[in-house]
């Protein structure tokens, strides 16, 4: 069975609403304010001395620069995920506000971060390219980090109790415990989510490497800006070249980095039986069997590791001394009380400030934001239904046929990581010829960008249905309709829900790039929340940006709580397989 490619979007236990949920809603408003307000504080200047070339000869160097940006953004995300999740895991008190915060951050679209991050970094490095570069990296980070952090946190919480006890009885120090228990336990989740994050990074690359803010345009040499400029000028040979290089890079990264990593990380499964169809990678086999590398490993890395471990052992000597002296409970409670009231006050202050800022928006603007939200919601909904109609039959077909699955699955995974945004210009061109325009185009982009999550999960779900159940359906002569109703749909339901949660989240985010496009020398928009955010961000209209982002973030978080979580619970409780 292949692991579904999902963020560990596992819902917490409770579904009932409490006062903390209200606080969460307010926290959204406060946090978005903070992000947008940052933009207001800075007025940097930045003169691009170069223009983005659409000459094919620049592609190698542009690609290299893009890759470097992505790698730095990824490393930043990885470090953040490890530190953030670990802190939340070790401190219950921290977890209480860190997890909701992560929930909110996840729902804020990348472009809403853009003005704040960019203007802040440009004013830190006035007139230099460095500021914009760093802004791009931070923006890539905002698209990559959250699901990785969630996944690592959940892996940490899922470590079997006896393994933790073993680490204590055998007196592993903090470093050893992290290195030999906690990090390995989270490795699988981290790798799979890295694959997703990396694909997500490509998705927003065009928007991140070339954008306008107020009346300034910011461009960084890279594959994303190459494609963006080529699309804006309607330079089709350049688009084709760019897309080909992009697909090439995606395929090669998948082959040389992600496949081997996915195969390697199988080692960290808790499962105590060997699985039959573990992911394979010939690159990994090559590396593992190479005599040269083995010698290097034995001569260089092992001694280094040993010395490192010894040093650390001495630094963090095992404490035989008491660690868990029962601390006076009152003190802890007081501290906690002060802390949480502090957080509450900050949130309330943020909400107040936001209210002051938002009050200046006229009712007509609000109306347009709400109307846009309705339009976008409709689009998200439509794209979800269409994705389901497309992917469920295909996914079940692939999942029920092991040989087909073996051949198609790796291909599907590569295709899925090709960013739909890069294909968008080509798609739009076709649509304009057919007479659909952006109305249809934006939905198509949402589907292209998000149906993969559903597809992967449906495949995994179909594979998880025991063969006996199909045999039983055959023996009792169930009709095709009955078979879908009583076996296949209930069987894949838990997986389907997981996939849909991810897909809908992605679709909201995708609305920003799909409702507002610079294409062939003109800006094409279609009414929606996504285009409002894009326009507000481009025009530097911070009030509007704040309003639209808050609305979108609230919509995402609230539908998560009210629709998806109960559904997830239902799936977990009622439709879980009996094995």
């Amino acid at each position: 069975m292949t692991r579904p490619l999902t963020p560990g979007n596992r819902a917490p236990e409770r579904t009932a609403w409490t006062w903390q949920d209200l606080l969460l809603v307010l926290a959204i408003v406060a946090l978005v304010l903070l992000i947008v307000r940052t933009a207001n504080q800075f007025h940097g200047h930045y003169d691009p001395h170069f223009t983005i070339s659409t000459d094919i000869s620049v592609l190698p160097s542009y690609t290299a620069q893009t890759l470097l940006r992505m790698i730095l953004g990824y490393i930043l995300s990885l470090v953040f995920s490890l530190v953030y999740s670990y802190t939340a895991y070790r401190s219950k008190m921290a977890a209480r506000f860190m997890l909701p915060l992560l929930d909110i951050l996840q729902s804020i679209p990348v472009l809403s971060f853009l003005p704040g991050v960019t203007l802040a970094l440009i004013s830190l490095f006035p007139g230099q390219r460095l500021g914009v570069e760093m802004a791009a990296i931070v923006l890539i980070f905002t698209g990559m980090a959250w699901n990785m952090a969630f996944s690592f946190y959940q892996s940490l919480c899922g470590i079997p109790q006896e393994l933790i006890e073993a680490s204590r009885v055998y007196r592993l120090n903090a470093w050893e415990r992290f290195w030999s228990l906690e990090l390995p336990a989270g490795a699988i989740g981290l790798v799979w989510n890295s694959v997703m994050s990396w694909a997500g990074g490509w998705f927003f690359l065009m928007a991140i490497e070339a954008f306008t803010l107020g009346n300034q345009s910011f461009q960084l040499p890279g594959l994303g800006s190459f494609l963006a400029v080529a699309a804006a000028h309607g330079n089709f040979p350049a688009i084709y070249w760019g897309v080909s290089v992009l697909i090439g890079v995606v395929v090669i990264t998948d082959l040389l980095v992600w496949r081997p990593l996915i195969a390697w990380v199988e080692k960290f499964k808790f499962e105590s039986v060997e699985t039959q169809s573990a992911p394979q990678s010939w690159v990994l086999d090559l590396v593992r069997r190479s005599p040269t590398l083995r010698v290097i490993q034995e001569r260089v890395f092992q001694p280094l590791q040993e010395a490192f471990d010894q040093r650390l052992n001495r630094t963090f000597a095992v404490r035989t001394a008491p660690r868990e002296l029962p601390s006076p409970q009152n003190l802890g409670q007081w501290f906690e009380w002060i802390f949480s009231s502090g957080v509450t006050i900050i949130i309330l202050w943020g909400v107040w400030e936001a209210a002051l800022m938002l009050r200046q928006l006229s009712p007509t603007v609000w109306l347009s934001v709400l109307l846009g939200a309705c339009f976008t919601a409709l689009r998200v909904f439509t794209s979800l239904i269409l994705s389901l109609l497309i992917t469920v039959p295909i996914g079940v077909g692939i999942g029920r046929n092991p040989r087909l699955a073996q051949v198609l699955q790796p291909i599907v995974q590569v295709v899925a990581s090709v960013p739909a945004t890069a294909l968008f210009p080509i798609l739009l061109l076709a649509l304009i010829h057919l007479g659909g325009g952006l109305q249809v185009g934006s939905i198509a982009l949402m589907i292209l960008g998000t149906m993969w999550y559903v597809l992967f999960n449906v495949i995994a779900g179909a594979q998880a249905i025991p063969a006996e159940l199909f045999e039983a359906a055959l023996v009792y002569k169930l009709t095709r309709r009955q078979r879908w109703q009583t076996l296949i749909l209930p069987g894949i339901f838990p997986y389907l829900v997981t996939g849909m949660i991810t897909a809908v989240g992605g679709a909201w985010n995708a609305s920003i790039v799909s409702e507002y496009v610079t294409f062939n020398g003109q800006v094409i928009t279609t009414p929606g929340l996504g285009s409002i955010i894009s326009e507000a961000s481009a025009a530097g209209n911070f009030r509007l940006l704040l309003a639209a982002t808050v609305v979108m973030s609230l919509l995402v978080v609230i539908t998560n709580r009210l629709v998806w979580r109960p559904m997830y619970h239902l799936a977990q409780e009622k439709y879980r397989q009996l094995i």
Binding site: V169, N173, F268, S272, E306, Q310, K574, Y575
Partner: protein, 451 residues
């Protein structure tokens, strides 16, 4: 005498108890305060049914869990934090799946800061002693259950603990593998090939305890307390067929099947017994605790009893059942007044006889009648249901009721058992997705879905 004991003991528990407070303020007692001391040179078995807190007691001794009262003394010093002289062998092995056998065994040594050379030497030696040669580079998932537990032993013994704690180390293994490993462990111990000074084994198998241990401590449940503490003086490599051994088994069985009676430490004609005083605890009025068994299994027991009444222990042996499997069944049948238990002998009551002679509908009627007569929780649920207008009660209501007497986990188990029994007797139904119990006769809007 007392002073002598304190200096000779490896570990001494002084009035150690464990309890915790529910959010509602209700205290739940896991372990009643107890005194206990472990001396060098002995294998001690902690024997008891599930829920008697034997694992908790072991973890308190290891310093993994702090006691809520009393003190653990290690070499006469109060123990704070982890016990430095203890290693544990876990029921589920608790090997790190991503480390090889050698790396797993080296783990504890590495944490001690041993340099590579001596560390590897010690680990390899222990791998050799425990019979894992040739598997040094294997990963745990490549090994069979028995080999995995060998790794668990090697890892524990490699750190040369003074006290080796074992938490049901053989219960995840098949019968033959377990037997083999038990005797190999005994060999190592008797031939002094391991530096361990004492062994504490947690078990629910009477035979296992009596085969291995020099001293057996029997724990009772609800709340966990010491019911008997007696030495086993039979010479090692004990013959399980011998009458001495069998008589010991019988006596332990008697203690375990008589949870309320003050236990007499088993005595052996052939040995001079030095019995340790059993704390005679006045049993407080307790809420009836339902053993988590299915009516179907009780019915099976009664069927079997129909033509072979008599000694409970022989019956269990014949059925290849452990105490933990057998006792709850007997207890449940006793609660419903279907069997009589006297001195380890089990007989069917009049109702029990009637039950085993009846067909399915009649059986359900008998169980219904017995439940409503004897089982308090079922009565309560039934009355609640009748009082409610819609004849539906949410599970939270019942759990709240139970959590005054049990831990949340145990309360849930009690509830589930009551649901199962009531369902069998057709007293009430349970709507799992909604989490509601409803009166069987009442028309329901939604039929519970069986997956």
């Amino acid at each position: 005498m007392l002073v002598e004991k304190a200096t000779a003991s490896l570990i001494a528990l002084e009035k150690v108890g464990k309890a915790y407070e529910q959010p509602s303020g209700q205290p739940v007692v896991i372990l009643e305060p107890m005194d206990l001391c472990l001396k060098p040179g002995e294998i001690v078995a902690l024997l008891g049914p599930s829920g008697s807190g034997k694992s908790t007691l072991m973890r308190i001794i290891a310093g993994l869990i702090p006691p809520s009262q009393g003190q653990v003394m290690y070499h006469g010093q109060p123990l704070v934090g982890l016990n430095p002289g203890v290693a544990i062998v876990f029921q589920s092995f608790a090997l790190y799946p991503w480390l090889t056998v050698l790396e797993n065994v080296e783990l504890g040594l590495k944490a001690k800061g041993e340099p590579l050379g001596p560390r590897r030497e010690k680990a390899l030696k222990m791998i050799d002693v425990i019979g894992l040669d040739g598997f040094e580079n294997a990963y745990p998932k490549e090994l069979s259950g028995g080999m995995r537990q060998r790794v668990g032993f090697a890892r524990a013994l490699a750190v040369e603990p003074e006290l080796l704690c074992m938490d049901e180390p053989f219960s995840a293994l098949d019968v033959l593998t377990a037997e083999n490993l038990r005797f190999e462990l005994l060999d190592l111990w008797l031939e002094r090939r391991i530096p361990t000074r004492a062994i504490l084994i947690v078990t629910h198998g009477i035979e296992e305890a009596l085969t291995l241990a020099d001293r057996v401590i029997v724990l009772g449940r609800n709340p966990g307390r010491i019911r008997a503490d007696f030495p086993v003086t039979l010479p090692h490599y004990r013959d399980r067929k011998s009458s001495d051994f069998q008589s010991l088994v019988d006596q332990v069985y008697k203690i375990l099947t008589n949870p309320e009676a003050p236990a007499e430490p088993p005595t052996l004609a052939a040995s001079n017994t030095t019995s340790v005083a059993t704390p005679a605890t006045p049993a407080p009025a307790k809420y009836q605790s339902l053993p988590g068994v299915r009516i179907g299994s009780i019915a099976g027991l009664l069927e079997l009893l129909e033509d072979r009444q008599g000694d409970l222990y022989r019956l269990a042996q014949e059925l290849l059942m452990e105490v933990d499997d057998m006792l709850p069944l007997v207890e449940a049948a006793q609660m419903m007044d279907l069997v009589n238990l006297r001195e380890g002998d089990i007989t069917l009551t009049r109702i029990g006889l009637e039950f085993s002679a009846s067909g399915i509908d009649e059986r359900k009627r008998i169980i219904r009648q017995q439940l409503l007569e004897h089982i308090r929780l079922v009565q309560q649920i039934y009355r609640l249901l009748q009082a409610k207008r819609h004849q539906r009660v949410s599970e939270e209501l019942i759990l709240d009721l139970l959590e005054g007497h049990f831990t949340p986990k145990e309360a849930y188990r009690q509830f589930k058992t009551a649901v199962d029994w009531g369902r069998y007797a057709e007293l009430y139904g349970y709507d799992e997705p909604a989490g509601e119990v409803f009166l069987e006769a009442a028309p329901t809007l939604e039929t519970p879905v069986v997956t």
